[in-house]
């Protein structure tokens, strides 16, 4: 695979190194002369000097034949434009953009740039996983498919505790896909009884969380509340 990585900071440099170690062909582009000279000592011809928001720099790097373009500079505007041009001008099939300021994520989406990866967001997810708020953890959001997978802990006294799966009143568009109990996970059947202390995984249409959570928390109200 031929990969162009833009931005030779810690992220870009290490990405390039890893990809090269996995036998991919890589060109790393860095616009800061000093940084370029340091990285060039290690990566040699795999790094090029230039501003990758300029078309000729991308073309010199061979963007026309790139299988993947990864923009990980410290500047969100640059990452957006590099990916936009890679996708729309050079018809590159795969792009990955780094989001430095999570508030800019909406702009990446507006320009159709995905996946857009935000370190702040990833760390936030990790924190939520370690310190679950309301016992709910979002595990995966498949935005293209408009589906989410969430993890919930079943609190003692919750409406769902002690009920069979088919007795738990869940909204249309949601499904319990796995139960984690005593360190092991299994796929429940309709007559599986949910116990307090279980962790359940659900797949759902986005936006249904608030209708689902009450079934698994203590102050649970009825469905749809």
């Amino acid at each position: 695979m031929y990969v162009i990585v833009v931005g030779a900071g810690k992220v870009g440099w290490n990405l390039a190194r890893e990809l090269l170690a996995k036998d991919h062909e890589v060109t790393l582009i860095e616009s800061e002369r000093r940084k370029y000279l340091i990285v060039e000592q290690e990566l040699e011809h795999a790094v090029q000097y230039g501003d990758a928001t300029e078309l000729w720099v991308l073309e010199r790097a061979g963007i026309q034949r790139a299988d993947l373009v990864i923009a990980v500079t410290g500047d969100d505007e640059d990452n957006m434009l590099i990916c936009q041009m890679a996708k729309e001008k050079y018809l590159c099939q795969r792009i990955v953009a780094r989001v430095n300021n999570p508030r800019n994520l909406q702009h990446f989406k507006l320009l159709g740039i995905r996946p857009a990866v935000s370190a702040t967001d990833l760390i936030l997810r990790l924190i939520e996983h370690e310190v679950p708020q309301y016992g709910l953890v979002q595990l995966l959001a498949l935005e293209g498919e408009r589906l989410e997978i969430i993890e919930l802990e079943v609190v003692a006294g919750a409406p769902a505790a002690g009920k069979r799966v088919d007795e738990v009143p869940l909204p249309e568009g949601s499904l319990i896909i796995s139960v984690l109990r005593g360190g092991a996970g299994f796929v429940p059947k309709s007559d599986t009884v949910i116990e307090a202390g279980d962790e359940v995984l659900l797949i759902l249409d986005p936006g249904l969380e608030s209708a689902i959570t009450p079934q698994f928390t203590r102050n649970g109200a009825g469905p749809g509340s």
Binding site: T53, M85, L110, L111
Partner: protein, 142 residues
């Protein structure tokens, strides 16, 4: 018309002042409070007294754009000192806020040409300079 100018440098502030003098409603957004001086310069009164609006804020912040009046804007001018910032905010103005007329200053001729093909009204001062210098230097009729 209501005109929103983002970036009060030489070009942005000069266009803003001309638009105001021509009787338009003009709002300027710039991240630097000191850029306000560019607007007061050459005016007999302050920019606000002359009827202009000034908002300090970052162009990529939607809140700042809304505060500066992007939702009411008939014309949006992207004239910060960064090509990439201009190209991004121009697309935000066009696609998200549906501003009818969006003008964007791009110094790099390559990007200016390609984004013009994509439907943005780009103005490239560099290209104009190249054409003028070329004509002054090489055109036998000049």
């Amino acid at each position: 018309m209501f005109i929103l100018v983002v970036g009060a440098g030489r070009v942005g502030s000069a266009v803003a002042k001309r638009a105001l003098q021509a009787g338009h409603e003009v709002s300027v957004l710039d991240e630097d409070p000191l850029s306000h001086e560019q607007l007061d310069k050459d005016l007999s009164e302050t920019w606000e007294d002359a009827g202009g609006r000034y908002t300090v804020g970052t162009a990529l912040e939607v809140d700042a754009l809304i505060e500066a009046g992007i939702e009411q804007a008939d014309v949006f001018i992207a004239s910060t000192n960064g090509d990439n910032t201009n190209l991004v905010i121009a697309q935000i103005a066009q696609r998200r806020f549906n501003v009818p007329r969006v003008v964007v200053r791009v110094l790099d001729p390559g990007r200016a040409a390609w984004y013009a093909e994509q439907g943005l009204h780009t103005i490239c001062p560099t290209q104009h300079a190249i054409d003028l210098v070329e004509r002054a230097a090489l055109d036998p009729a000049v």
